[in-house]
Symmetry: C2
Subunit: 420 residues, 2 copies
């Protein structure tokens, strides 16, 4: 039995891709979702895995499981390597897929601004593996410090530098400060974890650059109250296994985390259409690419200007684009005209620690800071974990951590263990 419905191929099982697939559940199409991972990742909480507050499976769910029960969807675990626009064919590492409509939602990865040699010494945070590697480095650093007799070397083990003070960097810095001040405070004999330095370095002149300046100031004060040293207007010029250089200052540090730059997934380059500096596809107002109304690009892979500014690379934008694309595709295959996409900025939150956060609502018309912002952030994230069977577990773990200051997932795993 051959299926004559138009074939929609969606590449990427992130927020954009998943919402597009779900939105097509009743459309007269067949859908194939392709991802090189078997799981969808709730990326806004990935820093919690990196800092041992949550388990990987608390914030990741198998794509197959999320889409089970949707009759017109297939899921394929495969790496997409290129798009052949002329042949309407998605090239995979081990095969290919013909499409009638293509939705590209492969997101972004780290960018080291031409300094790829920094990657091994300053891991970024995009995947479960990244998070576990960061967790490993952070907790190993305390163990190494505990056994290090030399004072200067010990201080380098107890210095944590986060490069980039966007939401991810600020969240990481706040969580690392809490680990030193609270979670580990009384567990060592030879070091005092409270003496650890957590240094947040930002090239621009304030933390959380996407937020209004007043909120940046409040965020910085909250971070400093948590014990984070904030250095703004400072450009990193060197990173190696022993420390970080900015200008003529050298900071010895054995743990450096990268939260500064993102670059769009390399799949975009194979399209042969104009990209922006970060490698994102410059899409039309209906998220298609020039000359190819059958190809749509959404989420962090797309660059779309609206009212003079870029639609931000955040989960709500990807979700709105996924929902829009599903609706548009339904209109197109049933013969109705296309309508342009409109991003609605409901608000934006960044959490900094226990009871510390900032947020703005409706494009900056309202702003929140401190405990109230933190509660709002918590509520929003719990609501958006809908569809994850783990929501109750996550709430339980948070409540537990909140009451006890402990971090339950403090395992050092991965990498070859030393011989015993």
């Amino acid at each position: 039995m051959s299926d004559t419905r138009p074939h929609v191929v969606i590449v990427g099982g992130g927020f954009g891709g998943l919402y597009a697939a779900r939105g097509l559940s009743k459309a007269p199409v067949r859908v194939t979702v392709v991802d090189r991972r078997n799981h969808h990742l709730f990326q806004p909480l990935l820093y919690q895995v990196a800092t041992a507050g949550l388990n990987p499976a608390d914030i990741a769910a198998p794509i197959r499981g999320i889409l089970r029960g949707q009759e017109n969807v297939s899921v394929i675990l495969a790496a997409a390597t290129a798009v052949d626009l002329a042949a309407r064919c998605l090239v995979l590492a081990d095969g290919s897929l013909d499409y009638d409509h293509l939705v590209l939602a492969t997101g972004a990865t780290h960018s080291y601004f031409g300094h790829d040699e920094w990657a091994p010494v300053a891991p970024g945070l995009k995947s479960i593996e990244d998070a576990l590697e960061i967790r490993r480095r952070v907790f190993l650093a305390y163990e190494a410090a505990e056994r290090e007799p030399d004072e200067a070397k010990r201080r380098a083990w107890l210095t944590f530098v986060i490069v980039g003070a966007g939401p991810t960097g600020a969240e990481l810095a706040g969580a690392l400060a809490e680990i030193s001040r609270q979670s580990l405070a009384s567990e060592f004999d030879h070091i005092d974890p409270k003496q650890a330095r957590v240094v947040l370095v930002e090239g621009q002149d304030r933390v959380l650059p996407p937020f209004p300046p007043a909120l940046s100031g409040k965020a910085q004060r909250q971070l400093e109250a948590l014990g984070v040293e904030v250095k703004t207007g400072v450009r990193v010029t060197g990173i190696d296994a022993e420390g970080v250089t900015f200008g003529d200052e050298r900071l010895p540090a054995r743990t450096v985390l990268w939260a500064a730059g993102v670059a769009a997934s390399p799949l975009a380059r194979s399209l042969g259409v104009p990209l922006d500096r970060a490698g994102r596809v410059l899409v039309q107002p209906d998220l298609t690419i020039p000359g190819h109304p059958e190809v749509r690009v959404i989420g962090d892979l797309a660059a779309l200007e609206q009212d003079g500014k870029l639609v931000p690379g955040v989960a709500p934008a990807a979700i709105q684009e996924g929902v829009y694309v599903a609706r548009e595709l339904t209109r197109v295959v049933t013969g109705r005209p296309a309508r342009p996409f409109r991003y609605f900025d409901k608000g934006n939150f960044a959490t900094l620690g226990r009871g510390a956060a900032v947020g703005e609502l409706l494009g900056g018309r309202f702003s929140l800071s401190g405990f109230l912002a933190w509660l709002a952030w918590l509520a929003i994230h719990i609501v958006f974990l809908i569809g994850f069977r783990n929501r109750a577990l996550v709430i339980f773990q948070w409540a537990y951590s909140y009451v006890t200051f402990r971090r339950g997932a403090r395992l050092i795993t991965g990498g070859p263990p030393p011989e015993r």
Copy 2:
């Protein structure tokens, strides 16, 4: 301020080492626990991590966290490489530790009976990394099968062989059968996961050789009811990436798991005392080694015969030995005579799947099978998770899995992801 209390060094933070450390909390000694991992592992449930029922952090807890609050204990993350008996010194990969009393509790690892070339193609189950690697292979096999057009190759992807039908092998086989029959049943388009073969191969003439023969028969029938093919009296002569050979039979299988042999930790060899065939230390009735009353060996690293049979390598034995050693050390440092160790066999359970288990109590005088045994197994494991903050979480996850047949931790992680 120098500490004049005798120094007890405990190597290994498993059941034996932890119970020894805890038992010394009020003794006039200072204790150092050395482990190359930062976490204690609740090994009886490790197969649940391998089969995606539980998260790593559900069954592992930082040793530092478990022992926090015990004034006389230090914890060191380090690899012990040898014991210098004459100098009373434990050699570490990066240093050394002088001791007055030494407790070795480093456990066991896999043994491939001289076929170390099987290790990469047939991983065993001893660590969190092992469990995640098995999980990765199992779920990748279904993904590969879904995309494999060739019928014979697809069957090889859907054939899972477990070598060794002791408790670990039987538990793995039962869980893999449930994954194919229940968890994944309706998630694929091109394959029927229910067609997967789970083959349990055992060299002896029955499954669960440590149990009485009548229970072995019951266990085999329960396994077969779950969908496991049981092959007993069959010796594996070859394993490679394409399958398994036993005698003149060849079974194409892309996923082979090793649950057959264990070997004691290599640290034992550095003692220069008699070992048994599996490399375990032949200890005295008080668990010391000949000529060195200050060195004690416990848990899977020790070989002790009692009433004509070996004390088994199970968690309750290690716990009893740890408790005993702590009491003995307290007696010795306070000038009282030593007493011999006595293992009390309370019982032994093996779980096979949802509502399926076998168990014996008090040295085989009572036996249980089926749902009742499973409930008893569950109750015992929940009680022994005491001290793990995650107990409530684990119960919650089990209850959820029991009701829904889903497996929450079905993430494929680790290893380099393919390029996108």
